[in-house]
Symmetry: C2
Subunit: 285 residues, 2 copies
């Protein structure tokens, strides 16, 4: 069905960090994604963790800065890293903001013009890309999980909450936890989905709202949040709202406040080992 083309391959920690490009049918454009193949894939199939990146990122940031390959090699898991929006289109306004359009797909399926034909990142990361990965790489399809940072933390949370059973677990670094109630999320949702806070379309992509109505299998969510994160202070992240919502449910949310850490990849690098171990605990159980 689908062609993928390798554009780079580097040995790291005994495995291979690769970047591919392909034509996405959901997004109707060429998309890059990263795949880390641990040495265990030479022997057979392994679980897979998806990483969703934050605003302005491409697949490169996590690959170059997180240090995740060491732990993925130790634990024997594939890590897949998609880009954060469609690329190379000519949609008016796509380059006007750093927090909307290119680099800022927000992991929703847009319903508004001029975005709705291409900005289908939710379907891309939860359906098209996993199908492609399972076809092309030695994964165990029923053992997958998802994690992310900031906008990508939002993406990981909604993916796990909207598709009960598809992901064994979920974790996030400084996620946008309640997008309907923060400036970044309100800008993205009104642009991609139209309407306003309280609309059903918004609730369908808001982790706090999805938590309230979650009725799938048990899910243990790990969130790390730096206390010196400027976007926490600006009320863009609102993890307290997610914690409050989870307390009313069967979901187990472990929210760790990390003293002195900020919103950067230095914070992610420090705690990515814990996240990968959290995922592996659920992926191999």
């Amino acid at each position: 069905m689908s062609e993928i083309t390798e554009i780079s391959s580097n040995k790291i920690f005994g495995g291979w960090q690769k970047i591919y490009t392909h034509n996405s049918s959901e997004l109707k454009c060429k998309m890059n994604f990263g795949v880390f193949l641990p040495p265990q894939t030479e022997e057979g199939s392994v679980p897979v963790i998806y990483w969703l990146s934050g605003l302005t990122c491409t697949e490169a940031n996590f690959i170059q800065k997180s240090g995740a390959q060491k732990y993925a090699a130790e634990q024997g898991v594939i890590i897949v890293v998609p880009d954060t929006s469609p690329r190379g289109l000519n949609i008016p306004g796509q380059e006007d903001s750093w927090d909307f359009g290119t680099g800022a797909g927000f992991y929703v399926d847009a319903t508004m013009d001029p975005w709705k034909n291409n900005y289908r990142m939710y379907s891309y990361v939860t359906k098209e890309l996993p199908a492609l990965i399972n076809e092309k790489f030695p994964t165990i399809p029923e053992r997958q999980s998802i994690m992310g940072h900031s906008m990508g933390g939002h993406g990981a949370l909604i993916a796990a909450l909207k598709s009960p059973g598809q992901y064994r677990t979920v974790s996030a670094f400084a996620p946008i936890s309640n997008p309907s109630k923060c400036p970044w999320g309100q800008k993205a949702f009104s642009g991609y989905l139209g309407g306003t806070h309280g609309d059903i379309a918004w609730k369908e992509y808001d982790a706090v709202e999805l938590t309230k109505k979650y009725n799938g299998p048990p899910l243990e969510i790990l969130i790390d949040q730096g206390t010196e994160d400027i976007f926490l202070k600006q009320s863009q992240l609102l993890p307290e709202n997610l914690l409050a919502a989870a307390k009313e449910t069967e979901l187990r949310l472990i929210l760790r406040l990390q003293e002195g850490y900020d919103h950067s990849y230095f914070f992610i690098a420090t705690f990515i080992e814990d996240h990968i171990k959290h995922h592996v605990k659920h992926l191999k159980s």
Copy 2:
């Protein structure tokens, strides 16, 4: 004496990755450098390792991509990362090549016009910067060592070999081991130093030549070299010449050929833990 200005500070692995800027008297321009302060510096002074980067790099590459902070935090060592050339000057020709001029200082003190007033990277990294670091940060000045990558591997080797006793040990990733005999080194040396191969000025900055006449205290040199490094295949690195020279001396050279690895930071990230442990063995003995 000298002012330094902090331009960024990020918590990572319990320590602090900082970047500073200062006015260099050797280079007569503003220079950035990175300092990782491990958590142990809250209690007292610790040893310091200098990292010298390769062609086209700034201080940022190692800081963002190596993952070294984890091991420096575990072992309790400061890591200092200078830039690779003077910056912000208006020297004719400085931007013409990626392997000469800006980003390519080659860690020599130039003697040729128009470079000789500013391109004094050898004195900068071995004298001015260490004096500044020892003045401003909690180092143990007699416990320092040096490492680097590619052009910076050359820089680390010559620094250790030219100043016996100043550095407790030295290590390198894919160093330019015999610059007088490779295209990169010949271009740099003829531009910065004038003359040609065989001239005394070239021998004074060539690790193979310096190894032959080394008569300082014992020095254990660790070098990692990827077998799939394209620059190895292009005879830019020539580690075999350094190995041959070291065999005639009291120097102990451990040259590890790493199967399948290339010249990238993915290679460095994989083995930086070994290098930091090698340094700490000598720094704390």
